[in-house]
Symmetry: C2
């Protein structure tokens, strides 16, 4: 009646293939011997694993003349620039964007378009997105790449482990499973006949934080940070020991609805005095004396209102400066709560907040300083508005590196 | 130059020994065949592992006549009631307590005493604690148990991965390494000559949450919950996927210093309008018209002021009822922030908050309800004030179950 022993050899091999790939990914071209030394396996074992990865088209040999920093003779190994690639997509309130990233982490194809997705019918939006995905996937294939999966960033809550958008307030979408819409196009999925294609949907703030973790220059050594970003709303993501904290339902990181003026303005979420009512795009426009709807009509497109605020702040517009200072202060109060609860090593501002950081940071840091004995440093992401899109594409690439057997041609 | 292959056989054996022990720990007495079926190893492999654990005195055979619920003939295995035991200790503001818990999770020896540890000289307090630890360890040895380690719960911040209390405001201790004080007694440590003895120090709120996770009846299946407790201050701990979230420095879970009235009362921590100023013991006493110092002098000892508040609330004392309602409301505001950030499956009230729950819960739940679309359920721990002490002793027992080889005689 005893269950059969699990195939632990197979599991160990799978894990070791991933370790070899990560060793090459993290350190650039390396010899077999250097990989073996790094991951602590024998050179013989590594050679067998490398042969399998070469055969699967995930690694390539650069030839003895290009062994780079490797100190001893030996063929240098590198990640393939023709193997699997990750397709990332972003549904913004004002735009759609798609890109393809190869195993080396390089963006190889990319497209974007302005779009009026606020309070939209999801069908046409997703059809348009699927067309863009198809274009980018075709372009990638033309470069010898093989799309291994699609990840989509959305400005809303996604149920953990599913492809369902539970609520995307600015899009006006609720309880919508995106997978059938995107699969129906036949761009990816089993219909394409080339490898395993996965489709994942995630919150844009989560993917922006992962991009910062994987690509940004501000991730602390401990891998513990809070990433705060903004498009129309305020989004945040909590990274603990290098892993995203998702929460039971997948809704963690809702810094925008932490009460900062507990008996203040009612919020669209049903709450009272939420951060978003003091630091969200509409709140800042209103505090600066601008009508949010009229301003959006006059300045459509991704980042246009943020550009407007930045321009006016640079010009010294005191209403805008006061509005941004007030937003920074509200951010500081909400982050005080987050720091007390989470004890992160740093706070990173991304997206629109990175763009507006020069005018938000003084009041934000003042607030942290008057509320916390040892406030963590606040840094500004250099990824800007690209974070969620890059994070989406890289999440597919990471899935390939983590389990190469599942993604060979 | 390749590094030697790691001894993966050894690692796998160590892991499998732990799996066998946990299989017996989680399910009560079981046959070898039942253990094999549960953990997916062959019966032969399990028999070898079991023999080793029997030899090390961690498992015992109950004999064929006592195989209990096991359906087929076979000797039932159980955790030993004479093997290693965990010693847990607690330094409270008003008391000291020590207990010994065996591998089966049963408290086998226990002692406690009232103590005036507020603003104390740590030397004498730790000497007294060491004496109590010595008494309980001797009693455990008399029962055939072998103290495998000591874990101490303290009302303060402990630097992650160390035995140093960075700050315990109510004790008045700062930057104090407890290990030398406790090792000096010779009760535990290499001087005792019986097995590996470890000494760990942790925040009482962390250990209370772990006790709830391991022993309480309110841990949700996801293992995601926020545990809020109180002794003199408000403590909280965040459990994610069954693991404590510690934070970079080890200071996570400081719910007591989340701003709930951002421009409200100054707090001893240097912050403004912290939860502790509205829901901590002193704040509630003051709000109820009682002088905290005078009341503490009149009602010394662990839990005495909480008893007083509970008694008066039961009698319908409107000042006390109002004070507790206000505290519940402040707790609800702070927890709204925590729920937005962490998306826990439940909130559990422990310690003094469990005792006062009948009068805190209505306003607490009202606050969550008016601020959150889908507030998580709030439950009340049944461990009461024992949580941190039990969590401490059980943390040692868990360490033995997780790595049996390190703890054999």
């Amino acid at each position: 009646m005893a269950a059969p022993a699990p195939n632990t050899q197979q599991e160990m091999r799978r894990r070791n293939l991933a370790r070899v790939l990560h060793a090459v990914a993290d350190g650039g071209p390396r010899s077999r011997a250097a990989v073996a030394a790094r991951i602590g396996l024998t050179r013989t074992a590594v050679s067998t694993l490398v042969d399998e990865l070469l055969g699967a088209g995930l690694l390539v040999e650069l030839g003895p003349g290009r062994s780079g920093a490797v100190g001893r003779p030996g063929t240098a190994l590198a990640l393939s620039d023709r193997g699997p690639c990750g397709i990332g997509a972003e549904i913004g309130v004002d735009h759609l964007a798609v890109c393809a990233v190869d195993l080396r982490g390089e963006v190889r194809a990319r497209t974007a378009m302005d779009a009026a997705n606020r309070d939209s019918d999801p069908g046409p939006v997703l059809e348009q997105l699927a067309r863009l995905v198809g274009e980018v996937a075709d372009e990638a294939r033309g470069l010898g790449l093989r799309p291994a999966g699609l990840a989509v960033a959305v400005p809303g809550l996604v149920a953990r482990g599913t492809t369902t958008v539970v609520q995307a307030p600015n899009l006006g979408w609720t309880d919508l499973d995106l997978a059938p819409h995107l699969a129906r196009t036949g761009v990816l999925g089993s219909g394409s006949g080339t490898g395993t294609a996965v489709c994942s949907i995630d919150n844009e703030a989560n993917l922006g934080a992962l991009a910062e973790l994987w690509l940004g220059g501000h991730t602390p050594p401990s891998g513990d940070f809070v990433h705060v970003s903004a498009e129309i709303g305020i989004g945040a993501a909590i990274v603990v020991d290098g892993e995203l904290l998702r929460g039971t339902r997948g809704f963690a990181g809702e810094l925008g609805h932490v009460p900062v003026r507990p008996e203040g303005r009612p919020c669209a979420c049903g709450g009272i005095g939420c951060l978003e009512q003091y630091a969200g795009e509409e709140a800042v426009l209103r505090a600066a004396g601008l009508d949010p709807r009229a301003t959006a009509a006059e300045h459509p497109g991704p980042g246009a209102r943020i550009d407007l605020l930045a321009t006016r702040a640079k010009e010294g517009d005191s209403a805008v400066l006061d509005a941004l200072a007030e937003a920074g202060s509200a951010l500081g109060t909400a982050l005080t709560g987050a720091v007390n609860l989470l004890d992160p090593q740093t706070v990173v501002l991304g997206g629109a907040l990175a763009r507006l950081a020069p005018w938000l940071l003084p009041s934000l840091e003042h607030e942290l300083g008057r509320r916390l004995a040892g406030p963590p440093p606040v840094s500004v992401s250099s990824l800007g508005a690209d974070g969620p899109l890059l994070g989406a594409a890289h999440s597919v690439v990471r899935a390939v590196l983590d389990d190469p057997l599942a993604h060979r041609a």
